[in-house]
Assembly symmetry: C2
Homo-oligomer: 414 residues x 2
Amino acid sequence: MKVLTAEIIAIGTELLLGDIVNTNAAHLARGLASLGINTYHQQVVGDNPKRLLEALEKAYESSNLVITSGGLGPTQDDLSKEMAAQFFGLPLQEDAEARAHIEQYMHRTGRQITENNWKQALLPVGSRPLYNHNGTAPGFVVEQDERMLIMLPGPPSELIPMFDEQVIPYLQSLSDSVMLSRTLHICGTGESAVESRLHDQMEAMTNPTLAPYAKEGIVDLRITAKASSEEEAERMIQPVEVMIRDMFGDQVFGQDGQTLESVVVQLLQEKGWRVATAESCSGGWACGQIVNCPGASQVLEGGFVTYSNEAKQSILGVKKETLEQYGAVSEETAKEMALGAAQALKTQTAISITGIAGPGGGTAEKPVGTVCIGVACQGKVWTETFQFSRNREANRRLSVVRALNMLRLAILQN
Amino acid sequence: MKVLTAEIIAIGTELLLGDIVNTNAAHLARGLASLGINTYHQQVVGDNPKRLLEALEKAYESSNLVITSGGLGPTQDDLSKEMAAQFFGLPLQEDAEARAHIEQYMHRTGRQITENNWKQALLPVGSRPLYNHNGTAPGFVVEQDERMLIMLPGPPSELIPMFDEQVIPYLQSLSDSVMLSRTLHICGTGESAVESRLHDQMEAMTNPTLAPYAKEGIVDLRITAKASSEEEAERMIQPVEVMIRDMFGDQVFGQDGQTLESVVVQLLQEKGWRVATAESCSGGWACGQIVNCPGASQVLEGGFVTYSNEAKQSILGVKKETLEQYGAVSEETAKEMALGAAQALKTQTAISITGIAGPGGGTAEKPVGTVCIGVACQGKVWTETFQFSRNREANRRLSVVRALNMLRLAILQN
């Protein structure tokens, strides 16, 4: 069958109580969008058989694919599967492989199997099982009279791999066209500036399409092409990618799965250099972001959080006169912090961040959100002052993004 | 009118594409639950007039209060208000105060007013305006024939304060009972252990109710009472709170808006002590968590991230023999790291974290997830080894939680 329109139904009383956020729906929606499958409606219902049946009825009025999350647990409250079987008039029957999966999973994680667990091995007769490598509940696909139902377990750690590894390829196999996306990551220019430079192109383009997404301090541009083969889609994406790379130059720091910190770590690895950090208002987050990359230990020597003026002097060797003359939040202090960190840890590169994250501490001359950043690279130093206007946490995160980006550019220039 | 059942409709094509997560629905749901208002269904629709009308029709079949988020922007796509006016047969009319709010907001944030913006000052005749202090779009309440509609703007920075400060008190005023909650935060015991110790009580209690919520390394217990007055609700909560505090002792670290780091900062302020951090695998996150609290500068002297063995020796004075004999991930190393940090920064207290966050680096003796934590307090040192079993990031976050908790307990014992 050909999927025309999909609807997502998330099942779980904890969603209705607001105890958890419906991240599953966003993940499923993104996946469907990447396949070019339209979604016009989403629903959330509790663990209630009658309301789930109503939701299914309603969904199939305008969609021919319904994807559900949740309600496949081992307890008596979990009745999604029973309701689906009833809806399609299919009996439930034990699936031997699902039973074996449950047995293995419980054994591997050292847990006791209870009678309830075997209920999870039951699947509607004729359904296509989706085995669960990260939990006990299998998902499944039912197809009947041009209607498809895909039921997935609720925990994101089970749903996400099952959807990405089993459902996406299956839905892809039903389609006669391929959707391919390339996302370019940009740092150093704002979302509205990116949008205004690309506005006309974005409006005019239909295939491939071009869409911007702003995160903190970073703008993503996603190019998506629909074609009859992956090669053709790639050929359609190519010229748009080249245009954007030409337009934004070294503000484009990476693509797809790359992050700012992973790019910085990779550049340092290529040079064989190490990095040190010296942070004040960001309080260690810049260092923590670098540690996020599994290869960090090869390039990160260490870091300092010098929150007090005394620590800036005793640990990083910032001069007393510099602090007195220019203040702790100044490019002069940022410069000495970066050089001091590189010297203390004998690294080729270092970054420093000193600023007023808020809510208090601002002055007329240096209002809340003023952040000075320094980058040392092979003995040279760059400094820059930024004026952020978010809350304390966001100002701190933006500082980290801009510091990592300055380090990236400094390495590229050496 | 009396609100019996509510339904939440989130409006926005970006939700259907999965570009943003529906955190608004969770916030609204939690607020409704706190008022004792039941919600059995949620919907998401795009910026599409026909489908919004269908969603409203469907919602009022089983609910008498509908709360929407989004679709109140200044562009032509934003038609929520027009559809609501049509649904209730009410004309739109300019609200002078809403117009003044828009003018002031645009002026304050230095933006140009366009003709579109005045569209946002239109409200259905007879509706109750909800003025927006964080953006331009006002929300509003319409009541007609025992049906209520509350429309709120989409950006969480506008919706959350409008809902918390205006909608919650209004809905509360319609009710003849009061809901009051107290949340106790627990660290040092797992969710399943908490649940099994309280299982019978939770099952038996109806008013007040008791419900557990697990976060990373922390279990929250929420006591909720429904009564005719706040005083009476407080009297009902009291004995349950006492029972839990008796049962879990100093594992209860705070309540309601308190966080582990805010409690630690407060304890340090009370003692007049300062703290230093020495981190390896957590890479500065422990220090960053402390900086999260606005009062941090009074108690945090600074911190070190000593990722390499050389840095552990040169900066913290960890002995070469200790590293060789016991390894970088050992309680002996953690002890010297904590003492070294306290000494370097002349603080009364210090915490240290050294571990194997994963994915690589584990051995048979010290598998991935092994983390050694040290706490120095007034010259004394405590160390402990933990075995976490999550992914790299979660293992690092759990390390920070346990380190802060050990520091809290050490301060309490001094």
